[in-house]
């Protein structure tokens, strides 16, 4: 093991409070990243103090907003804009919002969870009373 790393699972609603607590304890923010899981995203917020690595983690559903920590750590806005552009996750109240222009990708949010599309509604096949006769008539007209 190169170094011991502390992984702390949290609730999304506790994020800002816990990050503020780490800031007041003298931790620096070293990175934020998202990971695409099968049907949701995993958010990782990593901090360091005196070479001790600590990571906060929670998951969010597609379309679920995440609060910004930009007011606590001034460098968070770049990470948050990156996550927004690559994953399509909405970060609320970013201190600097690039509105999706930080990265220019051909496919919008390339890391986004692939939600299966709902089945297409197929219109019922018309019955004999509803126009089957006219369809037959059309066919006869065509061939005739």
């Amino acid at each position: 093991m190169i170094e011991a790393q502390e992984m702390v699972g949290i609730e999304k609603r506790d994020l800002v409070e816990m990050v503020a607590s780490l800031r007041s304890s003298g931790y620096r923010l070293v990175q934020i990243c998202a990971t695409t899981l099968a049907d949701r995203y995993e958010m990782n917020y990593s901090f360091d103090k005196d070479l001790k690595f600590r990571n906060l983690r929670f998951t969010v559903q597609p379309g679920e907003p995440v609060p910004s920590i930009g007011l606590i750590y001034g460098n968070a806005f770049l990470y948050e804009n990156e996550i927004h552009d690559l994953f399509g996750i909405t970060i609320e109240n970013m201190t600097t919002d690039f509105h999706g222009t930080l990265y220019q990708t051909r496919i919008p949010a390339p890391f986004a969870v692939q939600v299966p599309e709902p089945p297409v509604n197929v219109s019922p096949v018309p019955g004999p009373q509803e126009g089957g006769a006219s369809a037959d008539a059309d066919a006869e007209e065509h061939h005739g």
């Binding site: 620096r28 070293v30 990175q31 990971t35 695409t36 001034g74 460098n75």
Partner: protein, 359 residues
Amino acid sequence: MAKKNIIPFGPQHPVLPEPIHFDLVTEDETVVDAIPVIGYVHRGLEKLVEKKDFNEYTYVAERICGICGFMHGFGYCQTVEEVMAVEVPERAVYLRTIWAELSRINSHLLWLGVAADAMGFESLFMHSFRLRESVLDIIEATAGGRMVFGCVKIGGVRRDIEGSVLRGIIVKLQDLEPHIREITNVFLEDYSTRHRMEGVGVISKEDAYYMGMVGPMIRASGIPSDIRQIGYAAYKHIQFEPLTAQTGDCYGRCVVRVGEIFESIDLVRQLVEKTPEGPIEVKVKGTPSGEFFGRIEQPRGEVIYYVKGNGTKFLERFRVRVPTFANLPGMIHALKGSQIADVPVIILSIDPCISCTER
């Protein structure tokens, strides 16, 4: 109050080696705000991990950056090895560390040249690049490549360095040292270079820390933060101290990088003397399952590799947080309040690598 103007800076500019754009909001000659725009060279290399075998991805990782590509390959392999609990042979660990320190010397000499160019000191630029060429020759003789080494793999290294060649590296670096000192004395003592760097782009100790700055940027503000201290690779076997400066300005960053060139020469000497005999690779079986945040110290500072494996040959997630990405917010902070003529020197003082940043 003076009228505010927006001056576009980049993405093509004589002092920018790679494309990045800034909207500089100015009042007269003073920059009051700077808004960065990146995204010109985003290649989606993190996404590519979903389609590349984790062994093959080493080649991709080495191409994240054109200057410290070896460091990316090294960091990626080390992180995957941590996930897979692979014990790399000691000789391979030492060879990796030697190449890493040679990369640092190469990168810092390149920065000195580019910084001299930004200051309009053309002859100093040429001298810096001439000396850098000698380091590239050493790298080529040992790794086979000048920029992309291609010699690191999961489980060890692909090439060995013979004992006589290892000792030859020390001799060549010793011969090179006085020549490097000659040009670095110009950077640190000359009136015109000091005039361009002293008191320019000052970042306080607290700002550097809480802005998440890394590498020579944070050390120039007086914080001895260096990930090599955690003792990865062969750093646990050698003696070194993080070099710092107290001024927090462009001159302080230059002092730190110059000091690190000579420190790296000393580290290579220590590593060569201690390099053990033995195998250079171990056969790796299985596929990665688990996760780890790997950290190494590149020439530009701390870099983080997040690897998450799901037991298949394709990684579930690979994420790189490079030093320039971490240093951008601090650089924007340093630009505010600076004079427009100092902007190129401040931008170059973070040693920006945009290809790394966008991946």
